[in-house]
């Protein structure tokens, strides 16, 4: 009988990967090359940290949980908006240069850090949750899980703003003053679809928040690290409610007869 031996998987040897990391600030910048030894299990954020530790201690990068839940380490990796902490190195093409740059739709602060405060200002302009009167004497409400399922999907959002970054209405057409972006269309949908909410935000969506600028390219859905169906489950249902209220004469007529 042979002696039992360790059955652990063979470990990939470390390999050297070349990175192009954008270094600069709001006045401009350039790509700087770094060579990093990558070992099995590393994510891109590990590589950035290794660059910080060994080659460029002044490299600025925002991060926090390293578990894909805080939404801090958003960047563009090989041109795709992604979380650095959720991008495993073995998913990137081997033997090719890896490009890392900040989100391109927001003003640069420094290196990989951008100013995303515009998003928080937008959020404050959306009418807050306004529940109906409590259903029960103890001040509570009765809800069914089925009615809250849709809204709970939207509450998975970690506010990484990758969807805002990739949206061409903001990115290419620079409509940030007329369009709130997919994140906040979804936030509005979460409030608007809530079974307890009594506020009406449909008029704001059409007139102020620019929902009509969305042309359903689904880029927001593709980059969402929480895999939320932003376009199909939030934006399009809101577009349909806008149609109900403003564009469909039959629905308006029907509503008139129903007295709503």
């Amino acid at each position: 009988m042979s002696t039992p031996t360790s059955q652990s998987k063979p470990v990939d040897e470390s390999r050297s990967v070349q990175f192009r990391v954008w270094r600069g600030n709001k006045d401009g910048g350039e790509f700087v090359n770094y060579q990093v030894n990558v070992t099995e299990g590393m994510v891109l954020l590990d590589c950035v940290h290794r660059i910080q530790a060994e080659q460029a201690p002044d490299l600025a990068c925002r991060w926090n949980c390293k578990a894909g839940k805080c939404g801090s380490c958003s960047a563009e990796i090989n041109g795709k908006p992604s979380l650095m902490c959720m991008t495993r190195m073995d998913t990137l093409p081997k033997d090719k240069v890896v490009t890392v740059e900040p989100m391109r739709s927001f003003p640069s602060i420094r290196d990989l850090v951008t100013d995303v405060s515009w998003n928080f200002r937008v959020k404050k302009t959306i009418k807050p949750f306004k529940p109906r009167k409590p259903d029960n004497a103890d001040g509570s409400w009765t809800m069914f899980q089925q009615d809250i399922d849709r809204v709970q999907e939207f509450r998975k959002c970690i506010e990484c703003f990758l969807c805002q970054d990739v949206c061409h209405v903001i990115r290419d057409h620079q409509k940030a003053d007329e369009f709130i972006g997919p994140r906040f269309l979804m936030y509005t949908a979460a409030l608007e679809m809530h079974p307890l909410d009594t506020e009406d935000r449909v008029g704001d969506l059409k007139n102020r928040d620019g929902i009509g600028y969305c042309n359903i390219t689904k880029c927001c859905t593709k980059v969402c690290p929480e895999h939320i169906g932003i376009t199909d489950n939030a934006i399009i249902p809101m577009k349909e409610r806008v149609v109900d209220q403003f564009y469909d004469p039959l629905t308006r007529l029907f509503r008139m007869f129903k007295g709503k």
């Binding site: 090719k96 003003p107 057409h173 940030a176 969305c214 689904k218 564009y247």
Partner: protein, 282 residues
């Protein structure tokens, strides 16, 4: 609005991107797929002939009608399909004006697909480069003049639900054609039941179209999406769940049904012009 303006970085130039994947494949496939369909369907619609088989003068041949020509309101002069609702082209139709039964029909399914939420996203990328693909630079001429669907003309896309109403009627009409394809004329003018490859093709066509049509985002809105309380609906949200299942596969059924309807026309057309014969199974 109280939010202060944002100073955005300079937008990238046309086709500029750091993406290293084959991002251009998807828009090219859509361009070829949709473009090919538009070219073929336009050509087929302008033919005005070879759109049916199995008339009274073809005993034993299953009655097949191309979906591009259904419903046939009038047959062109000299053609007796047996499917025309009102017989021959009326005399008041101007002699100088070209007539093909398909030209009266195709604008409705074409409008349904043109205003479909899935197709909109697909052809905005493939045909108008708006954007070419995610995180790829756009043609610079639009810039801040971009109007999206917020203003005319694309605000008209909101008509989609009206095309849906017509599309549902068309599902019924094409289902009737599928039923008719299970019959053939006998030499004495009576009809008998039968099944051919063409019958199966005409049965599959409305099934695929139903999977696409009933998974439409507007349909999802009507069966419950518009309500905040899904459990309050008469069926307890059952229809919403079923339509959602279809809606999650809307792109898949959009393409299957698109090619399905084109292949059905090709099958009938090839039978009608004698390229091949419809093979009777029963």
């Amino acid at each position: 609005m109280t939010r202060s303006p944002i100073q955005l970085p300079q937008a990238r130039g046309f086709l500029q991107t750091q993406r290293t994947d084959y991002w251009w494949i998807q828009p090219i496939l859509v361009l070829l797929g949709l473009g090919g369909f538009v070219v073929y369907s336009t050509w087929a619609a302008f033919q005005g002939c070879n759109y049916f088989i199995g008339g009274v003068d073809q005993p034993g041949v299953q009655r097949l009608l191309s979906p591009f020509y259904s419903p046939v309101l009038w047959d062109p002069p000299g053609i007796h399909s047996g499917h025309a609702w009102f017989g021959q082209l009326p005399s008041w139709w101007p002699a100088w004006m070209f007539f093909s039964p398909a030209l009266l029909i195709l604008p409705f399914p074409a409008g349904f697909r043109f205003t479909c939420y899935y197709y909109r996203g697909a052809y905005y990328k493939a045909f108008w480069g708006d954007p070419v693909n995610c995180a790829v630079g756009e043609p610079g001429f639009r810039g801040k003049n971009y109007r999206g669907e917020q203003k005319f003309p694309l605000i008209m896309q909101n008509i989609h639900r009206y095309f849906l109403y017509v599309a549902v009627v068309f599902i019924g009409l094409l289902s009737w054609d599928a039923f008719a394809a299970l019959w053939h004329y006998n030499a004495d003018g009576t009809r008998s039941f039968g099944v051919s490859v063409g019958s199966l093709v005409l049965i599959l066509n409305p099934i695929f179209l139903s999977m696409y049509t009933f998974g439409c985002h507007c349909m999802r809105h009507f069966v419950g999406g518009k309500n905040d309380c899904l459990s309050c609906s008469m069926d307890g949200g059952g229809a919403y769940k079923k339509v959602t299942w279809l809606n999650q596969r809307h792109m898949l059924f959009a393409w299957i049904s698109l090619f399905g309807v084109a292949l059905t026309d090709i099958y009938v057309r090839m039978c009608a012009n004698g390229t091949w014969s419809d093979w009777r199974i029963l």
